[in-house]
């Protein structure tokens, strides 16, 4: 009987472990694959499976390594990992211990950027409603950037060109490298505590995506979002869109652009005030004109303007009454006249003139005009006047006879 050597499970596993871990090719190996069954344990370690069309490989990335990840791994993500293959003795399984992980395709930085952007967007950090209005005329502007380099010089130059009297407080910060995010956060928080600032510019000049990376930091984004002072960002070039740009109250394409947007051109502003003052005078003038026109309307009202017209109409009334009165008087007079004529007719019948016409005559003494009715009233030689129907006779009495006839 051949007694074969009998091994324990542990011994075989240990043997395999040594076999694998001795192979240098497996100890520093780059592998590409798709993440599936991803879990992050409460300890902070990440467990997942890397797979391709035909095979699977168990993998773990410990907290010590994964804390440096800029993006959040998830199922379905194509990654490029670097690590070593080893055996997990307890389960007797070989697995990949991941040291580095990069997102395939888009690149890790981009992925981290996208993920943070989506997360902050969902939190509402980019909402337009959260944007603080910029002051039209900032008196004192905080500038957070590197105290060296072209960006700070450009910002100061442009601010003072547009508004020579604006006060500028530079709050120096590291704008690239490992310490940059923390440095920026501290500067922003500091600026937020300075009540005298009414606007903040955060920026840096152009650079590579990695050099601008601090402006994609979550802490920096949150510091900007909670800064009580309105913030203008101006990072890199026109084409660079950082998270800081998205969360800032206003994004400028460049640091110089931020300075342009920060203050109005003082000349423009003076012009605007002058225009306003002009408009004020003009509109006041017009308001006065309207009042004047109103007054004119009232004063030229016929009742006030031509009092004599009123008088004329009254006079006309008087005239009319007068005329009526006159007519009344005339008709009355006419009636009376006719009446009179009738009476006169009657009177005519009794007139001595008609008696004279019948051949009688009247005799007066010439001396005293006394009517002579009796022949004895005159003496011969006296002169008498005899009134005939037509004409009169002046006579000398020759004889006075008492008898009527003879």
């Amino acid at each position: 009987m051949i007694l074969a050597k009998i091994f324990t499970v542990s011994q075989v596993t240990y043997y395999l472990k040594n076999l694998l871990e001795k192979d240098q090719r497996l100890q520093n190996i780059w592998i590409t694959g798709e993440i599936s069954n991803f879990t992050r344990h409460s300890s902070g370690h990440m467990y997942f499976t890397l797979k391709d069309q035909s095979s699977r490989l168990r993998a773990v990335m410990f907290k010590g390594e994964n804390q440096w990840l800029k993006f959040q791994p998830h199922d379905g993500l194509e990654v490029l990992v670097c690590g070593r293959i080893a055996v997990y003795q307890k389960n007797g399984e070989y697995q990949l211990y991941v040291d580095l992980m990069e997102a395939a395709g888009l690149g890790s930085l981009y992925l981290a950027y996208e993920q943070l952007k989506n997360r902050l967007a969902q939190e509402g950090l980019f909402d337009q409603a959260k944007k603080k209005p910029l002051p039209q005329l900032a008196q004192k502007i905080g500038v957070i950037t590197s105290p060296t380099g072209a960006a700070v010089r450009d910002i100061i130059k442009i601010l003072h060109r547009r508004h020579p009297r604006v006060d500028i407080l530079l709050i120096p910060a590291q704008v690239q490298g490992e310490v940059a995010p923390q440095s920026l956060v501290e500067a922003i928080q500091l600026a937020g505590r300075l009540r005298e600032l009414d606007l903040l510019i955060i920026g840096r000049g152009g650079g590579s995506a990695e050099e601008l990376w601090a402006f994609n930091d979550e802490g920096v984004a949150r510091a900007i979002a909670s800064c009580p002072i309105p913030v203008i960002s101006g990072v890199g070039h026109e084409t660079d869109f950082t998270i800081a740009d998205l969360v800032a109250d206003l994004r400028a394409p460049t640091p110089s652009g931020a300075a342009e947007l920060a203050v109005p051109e003082i000349k423009e502003l003076r012009k605007k005030i002058m225009m306003s003052a002009k408009n004020l005078k003009f509109s006041f003038f017009r308001a006065c004109e309207r009042k004047r026109a109103q007054l004119l309307r009232l004063t030229t009202h016929p009742a006030l303007k031509r009092p004599e017209r009123w008088l004329l109409s009254r006079r006309q009334q008087v005239d009319e009454v007068k005329e009526e009165l006159l007519r009344y008087i005339q008709t009355t007079l006419e009636k009376k006249r006719k009446l009179l004529l009738v009476e006169l007719g009657k009177l005519d019948a009794l007139s001595p003139l008609s008696t004279l016409a019948r051949g009688y005559s009247i005799c007066y003494k010439e001396e005293d005009g006394a009517l002579v009715r009796d022949a004895s009233e005159v003496n011969p030689g006296e002169k008498v006047k005899i009134i005939l129907s037509r004409g009169q006779l002046l006579c000398m009495v020759e004889e006075a006879k008492k008898e009527v006839m003879g």
């Binding site: 002051p135 039209q136 005329l137 008196q139 004192k140 105290p147 060296t148 072209a150 700070v152 010089r153 100061i156 003072h160 508004h163 020579p164 009297r165 604006v166 006060d167 500028i168 407080l169 530079l170 709050i171 120096p172 500091l190 505590r193 300075l194 003082i266 502003l269 003076r270 605007k272 005030i273 306003s276 003052a277 408009n279 004020l280 005078k281 509109s283 006041f284 017009r286 308001a287 006065c288 309207r290 009042k291």
Partner: protein, 80 residues
């Protein structure tokens, strides 16, 4: 009125000035009210101009805050 005019920021003064112009244009005010607004408007325009001259154009660099006191010094950008 003068007191709270001095407290107004540049924007507030400008906004009030525009509001006054609108009111005057509307033409529903009494002459006395118009005159009062006009005087206020003139004062606002003057105030705005003063505000433009208020700052001094200083450029300082923040050195730090100690016990709530801000320490700064004049900033001299290095020459190119």
């Amino acid at each position: 009125m003068t007191e709270n005019l001095m407290e107004k920021t540049f924007e507030e003064a400008l906004v009030r000035l525009e509001e006054i112009i609108r009111k005057l244009e509307n033409g529903e005010l009494s002459l006395e009210e118009s005159l009062k607004l006009f005087e206020e408007g003139i004062a606002l325009a003057r105030h705005c101009n003063l505000k433009l001259d208020e700052a001094q154009g200083k450029v300082e660099v923040l050195l730090g805050i100690e016990d709530g006191v801000i320490r700064t010094e004049e900033f001299q950008p290095e020459e190119e």
